[in-house]
Symmetry: C2
Subunit: 232 residues, 2 copies
């Protein structure tokens, strides 16, 4: 979001760092980690978005960030797929994302936060998200570089209403200030290309493209298993 706004020459909104940008996604259809991903119409511009995801216990309305930890019961990975070229039209309508958001894919395993040991602290997972696109390592951003922690996000979503056990709460795309860490979504690279060369060169996903998301702990163990998808 920051990059996108900068590239349009606009200042970010004053509350960007104090008020999380959260949308309600669909939950009727969830995608398994190796399900083929339909390309849709090629002009919709399918992109991947590598994210952490918290699975919540029941959350009462009004839960505060300081009280949120016991409500985060499991963590997993998600590929929050997006049709990028449908986003501007939906943003212009002010009603949020809808057609631009096909079903999200999830990692094969979810783990309790204690399984992460010291990598889970202050409501963040301090491990790199390894992202491969067509066999090439394109990102290993630190998922701990998250402006709002999962506890902050729980407090945000529960400000006016309760949530049921099993609620899936995404972190937003994992992204780092340090560009050398790479990307967790193609649009971030396209924004950088736009800024540096005046044109976005990397195309969005094509048929037969592969996306692979995983997270290794300090001992090199694959914590959540691998999301490994082919675009069909």
């Amino acid at each position: 979001v920051k990059l996108a706004r900068r590239s349009r020459g606009a200042e970010p909104p004053p509350n960007l760092t104090t008020d999380p940008l959260v949308y309600q996604g669909g939950s009727g259809v969830l995608r398994a980690p190796t399900d083929p991903v339909p390309l849709g119409a090629p002009e919709w511009g399918l992109d991947f978005e590598g994210e952490l995801c918290a699975i919540l216990a029941d959350v009462p309305a009004g839960t505060r960030a300081a009280d949120a930890e016991p409500h985060v019961r499991l963590l997993c990975l998600a590929n929050d797929l997006t049709f990028r070229n449908l986003v501007p039209g939906e943003l212009a309508k002010n009603f949020g994302f809808f057609q631009s958001k096909p079903a999200t894919a999830f990692s094969p395993f979810a783990v309790t936060p204690d399984e992460l040991g010291p990598a889970w602290r202050q409501g963040r997972v301090h491990l790199p998200l390894r992202v491969h696109h067509n066999g090439q390592l394109v990102g290993q951003c630190d998922a701990g570089e998250m402006h709002f922690s999962f506890f902050d996000l729980v407090a945000h979503i529960a400000r006016t209403r309760a949530f049921t056990a099993g609620t899936l709460l995404g972190s937003g795309t994992v992204s780092n200030e340090d560009r050398a860490r790479g990307i967790s979504c193609l649009v971030e690279r396209r924004m950088i290309e736009q800024l540096e060369s005046g044109a976005a060169l990397t195309p969005y996903l094509q048929r037969a493209d592969r996306v692979r998301l995983e997270m290794l702990d300090g001992a090199g163990r694959n914590v959540f298993g691998t999301i490994d998808e082919e675009v069909s």
Copy 2:
């Protein structure tokens, strides 16, 4: 929406009549027809919104309006509650409604469309929605005056993704051009007051207010039972 835009002196967007405004609501918590409705903070401005709601069968991605009828399996009523004073801030963020939308309440019964006889035609329910606020009949708008039919709405939501059986698809607040039919939400009356007298006079819901929604068929039968809620 139309009234709101007119009152701001702005023209409606050119695609208002061709592109439905649909948002994704929460489904984790659903409210029973007589559950007390929490007021929340009084300054959030709780409002009711009387709607028809279709309950869908599995809907494949790409379903067209002409093929949508078999996917509409049940119809019911809904009170799509809204914290009106949280809406402007959320619209400004472009990510859609989230904190402004507490859990929706549903009628005690859902019926198959054939139970409505001739009142169900072209994907619309041609019956008045009777709305009582604190015992006073404030609206009996014809729910058939719906710009987009449920078939149009199915095609819109399924443009890029599939939906599971049990998906709840709301009509949007029932509203008529003829002001004599009254209202199905307080903000509509407030907009009219604003236009006619320069100030919105009707307050939003207060503690101990009652909202009653029901729909009688041609023979006077209460088709879906009654949503009858007290604000607590």
